[in-house]
Amino acid sequence: MIPASEEPGRRASGLRVLLVEDENMVALLLEDMLAELGHTVIGPVARLDKALEIAQREAFDVAVLDVNINGEEAYPIAEALAARGIPFVFSTGYGKQSLRAPYCDRPALQKPFERHDLQKLLAELSP
């Protein structure tokens, strides 16, 4: 699917990735994808308060946040992560244009997922 010439120059692996996703099947897919790319998944977390707690306290490298968690927006988690300087990527079905300020310019992963998209975004975010 991906032409060799378009592979990102940098490959990230071995990252600890916080996964916030309220739908089991979708979470399962992302877990597999992340594992395939050589990352360790923290979660998945399906509840906002729990996710917020982890976001504020636990140690991890990046986060993948579903924008809509059981009808609630994931922005408080984003805020907590931003405060700690932890990079994150939104996963959304709305499209990037639906992200709210000040997160409009944050990277977004479109559902359904493209493996190389995920790979590229994580490579860009990893420290």
Binding site: M1, P3, E6, E23, M25, G95, P112, F113
Partner: protein, 595 residues
Amino acid sequence: MSNLSSHEIKTHFRNVQAISSGDRAHELLQALPVAVYTTDAKGRITFFNDAAAELWGRKPEIGAEEWCGTWRLYWPDGRPLPHDQCPMAVALKENRAIKGAEAIAERPDGTRIPIVPFPTPLRDESGALIGAINTVLEITERKDAEQVSQLLGAVVEGSHDAIISMNLNGTITTWNHGAERLFGYTAQEAVGNSVTLLYPPDRSDEAAGILGLIGRGEHLDHYETVRQRKDGSLVEVSFTLSQMKIAGGAIAGASTIVQDITGRREAEKARRNSEEQFRILADNIPALCWMAYADGWIYWYNRHWYEYTGTTPDSQEGWGWESVHDPKELPAVMERWKASLASGQPFEMVFPLKGADGVFRPFLTRVVPHRDEEGRLVRWLGTNTDISAERDAAARQRLLVDELNHRVKNTLATVQSIAAQLLKGTSDVELRETFDGRLVALSRTHDLLVRDSWEGASLRDLLIQEFEPHRSDEGTRFVVHGPDLGLNPKAALTLGMAFHELTTNAAKYGALSKPAGQVRVTWDVLRASGPSALRLKWMETGGPPVKKREHKGFGSTLIERGVSLDLEGEVRVDFDPSGLICTMEIPLAAAGAEK
């Protein structure tokens, strides 16, 4: 003018004659306030008094000039009258007195005076003619009065207004052409009749009142009533009535000037109606409306403006409207409005206006210039329409579409996950990638459709989106060329899938598998014969040599079935050795293109 009658003067001079030509007689003649002069039997002037010299404007030479001391003489009709034919000359030659002959005397300064001379021969005791005496009366005033009277007559007759005079009994005494035009009666028919001739039956009681007014010497100015024409039709009139007095001040009757005001009344009624209609309309349409002079000074708002803003006319007049604007937005509004005022161009803008409840709501504001017949801008007509309901509805719809999109995408991701679980453990990575690719392509087309509220998507956008991940930095891998074309959702989904298959194939085996390869997509719309059709050509160049058998698993079935079944079109894929060529022809009706 002298009060002496010609008879008195003559009597007077018969007495003078008896006194002969002595100093006493001259003294007496000199003192008279009328022009008097004498001649001898041959007509030579022997004496003239000061009044004569004043009348002539000169002093003739005694004993030398003949007949008359006038500079020049004319007949009343203006023909020159030689001195030797003047009444004095005739009186002497024929030896008889002449009374009341008119002539015109001209002074050296050019002024002309109508005169009536009374030349009378003078005889001695034997009856022999010894000369003549002439008394000359000016008739300027009499002439003027006659002329004025004639002039007035002409004015009355020529007036477009009806001018009628009547005596104290209400009997019509004069009737001009204007009256004939207005009422249909000729002067012959009207004069001698009572003015009640003109009264409609239901107004006959007006007559007594009006005649009473005349008798009491009162005036009526622009009294509006109804009168009846000869043909029975009614006419709305305005009349002004004034007394006519004869010498001594007694009231002899009245004159009336009557104007037909039907047209004026109707115009006024139409104007009032139109104004009232405008107010009703302006006060009942849901928009806020206003009018401003050419310089932008607002002089009128409709009722809704005051109701919505909770303001009063005093506070809003002119530029008072600034008070209901959001201070943050006002500078931009002001800039645009002043630009319109300067250019005379219509104004359109959306900005918030504060309601009486303190809440700002978005208003679509349109202002158009109103010009007069010469094209001068005379005023601005403005409307402000509350679009908060539309905005809310649009926002709600957006929210619904977003929510639906979110669900659809989550469902697709779930499907993706199910497939991934099933394929886990198989070694067919290509199968998983093909599946994911198709699912994502479907999802992206879906995004394009959602962006335009599921109304359709542009053919160009569809291609650009599919090509996006394969684009090179130089931007030379793709050529996309054709007229703008909107596709309906079904055509967008079908073609989106087809383009995905073609692109995937090109990336794996075709032009996109080589750095120098190029994909060229061109299309046009055929309108020459029969129904219009979209004809599209996909052409690859610069890829490795094409071998047909390598294309096992290529989604050509998907493309062919989609285009023929869903879009009633035709598709043809040629595995040309230099590059794959795919042509499609789809009826425009099925593609749903409206552009």
